[in-house]
């Protein structure tokens, strides 16, 4: 009874409109049809955007897992007194407006930005080169936006490491590499998987970063959806993109959960 208001509210004002929108992808002129999907898939632009989104999702998740792991491992080795403070600095950006966080990259990568000033100043190029509205810009923006989501679960996974497990492996003759590969990595796998899921789904469904740093040149699924609706009133495509986004988000959640709980 007590849980009813919150459930009904979310179902009515959040989930119901979403479900109706998803159904639009399966309709042509009010009749059920899969023609919309066939048309959608056959367009080269849509294919490019789909694979670009997927690629950036994997790339951001992969790179942030390597940098994030090294960072989390370093934070874990700090004296406990400093650990909390540094961890706080990692989490803090999450509380700041993503628009503000992404805008910084315009200042860094723009025509008169720091990077271009350095390139021209060092004589590497006579004119500023285009860094904004490239996949690299979107990649950097996403990496900065979502990196904390990788580090947080990794640090907490490392804090739950049984401290005697490492000592035991050392006593039994394992070298540091073996300790890392056979003890630390398997025991922190869950953190890696949780972080990977958050970063991957976050990147897939990001709007602000591709909108500001990618523009019309580097469309991702969300910016494509926005463009289809605003430019062409194309609700069939909108429904299809929405279905793809939701399927991929839930799919990643489900799949990664299976990996995390699988026995090694």
């Amino acid at each position: 009874m007590l849980a009813l208001p919150a459930t009904l509210f979310t179902a009515t004002f959040f989930l119901l409109p979403v479900l109706v929108l998803l159904s639009e992808g399966f309709k042509i002129d009010d009749a059920w049809s899969l023609q919309g999907y066939a048309d959608f898939i056959s367009k080269p632009l849509n294919q490019t955007v789909f694979f670009r989104t997927l690629k950036l999702g994997f790339l951001v998740a992969g790179v942030s897992s390597i940098i994030g792991y090294a960072t989390a491992f370093s934070i874990f080795h700090l004296p406990p007194k400093h650990r909390g403070r540094i961890f706080g600095l990692v989490v803090l950006p999450l509380m700041i407006s993503p628009v503000a966080r992404t805008y910084a990259w315009i200042v860094i990568l723009g025509r008169t930005g720091i990077v271009n000033d350095a390139i021209v100043g060092l004589g590497l190029s006579n004119t500023p080169i285009r860094l904004l509205f490239t996949e690299t810009a979107v990649f950097l923006g996403l990496l900065q936006l979502f990196m904390p989501l990788m580090i947080i679960p990794l640090v907490s996974a490392m804090e739950n490491l049984p401290s005697d497990a490492i000592a035991a492996a050392r006593v039994l003759g394992a070298n540091w590499l073996q300790v890392f590969l056979k003890v630390i990595l398997p025991l922190t796998k869950e953190g890696l998987v949780i972080g990977g899921t958050l970063v991957f789904t976050g990147s897939l469904t990001a709007y602000i970063t591709p909108a500001i740093l990618g523009g019309a040149k580097v469309l991702m699924l969300e910016t494509l959806l926005y463009q289809r609706v605003n430019v062409a009133n194309d609700f069939v495509s909108a429904g299809i993109i929405a279905t793809i986004l939701i399927t991929m988000s839930f799919g990643a959640n489900f799949l990664f959960k299976r990996i995390a709980t699988a026995r090694t």
Binding site: A70, S97, Y103, L245
Partner: protein
């Protein structure tokens, strides 16, 4: 040696994560007309200019309103749900949890478009009301999660004791439970406020002339103008968020709850 490598890695990552804010603050301090870093001379002109932009003032007021009242509504709906989930064996508990958590997983842009197309247009909802609904639903998962965690750390026998001593269920909740979880409720409010205030995708389609949240207004502004005012505004927002979190941490121990 290992220690130095560790410190180097942390230093590089923090530079990547936090460095851009200093660049934003610096770019906003420019005395010139163009967005640049290092800035062309120093002045606070652009920081003052932000307050003179009419649309920024209006959208700030709307964002503030949505963040405060949306989060309060989410708490009114979410606290009872959290109580039910942590104290009773309710039917379909897993389904309820899934529905209530959905706003975190479902991409916001889809929700905004859905609300616009099926609620605002056919049912004559005003855009502001739809925005309010969306921002409330968006915060419910955080409210339920944070408050549930607080409730689970609170022993349920103290409320049983209050009931044995003649309190009603509701009385026991108001007099015994609520004072004990007020830290968690406050933390949920702060987290919800920040989430709602910074939210973009949900509000993207639910914005029209005159009805825009601040982040959407900033996106629209930077499409037409390339001056340091958005940098100055971004810096002010970042400083505001850091200030809120700093105070919440100092007086509440915010990080214990979230």
């Amino acid at each position: 040696m290992r220690k130095w490598i560790s410190l180097l890695i942390i230093g590089l990552t923090l530079t990547f994560l936090i460095g851009p804010f200093f660049i934003i603050i610096g770019a906003g301090l420019s005395a010139g007309e163009n967005l640049a870093f290092p800035p062309d001379g120093l002045s606070l002109n652009w920081y003052w200019a932000v307050f003179k932009v009419e649309s920024f003032r209006e959208s700030f007021a709307l964002s503030l309103f949505l963040a405060v009242f949306g989060t309060l509504t989410a708490l009114v709906l979410g606290v009872p749900a959290a109580y039910a989930l942590s104290r009773y064996r309710i039917p379909f508990a897993e389904t309820v949890k899934m529905i209530v958590a959905a706003p975190i997983i479902v991409p916001g842009i889809i929700v905004g478009l859905g609300l616009l197309r099926y609620l605002v247009i056919p049912l004559d909802f005003t855009v502001s009301l739809a925005l309010f609904m969306a921002h409330t639903a968006l915060v419910i998962p955080y409210a339920v999660r944070v408050v549930t965690a607080s409730l689970e750390n609170l022993r349920s026998d103290i409320e049983e004791a209050a009931i044995l001593l003649g309190c009603t269920r509701l009385g026991a909740f108001v007099k015994v439970v609520l004072p004990n979880i007020r830290g968690g409720v406050l933390a949920a409010f702060i987290l919800g406020f920040v989430t709602s205030f910074n939210q973009v995708p949900v509000s993207l389609f639910l914005s029209g002339p005159g009805v825009r949240t601040l982040p959407i207004d900033m996106l629209a502004y930077m499409e037409i103008t390339y001056d340091p005012s958005v940098a100055a505004l971004s810096a002010l927002l970042a400083i505001m968020s850091v200030g809120i979190i700093f105070l919440a941490e100092k007086f509440l121990g915010f990080s214990r709850y979230v």
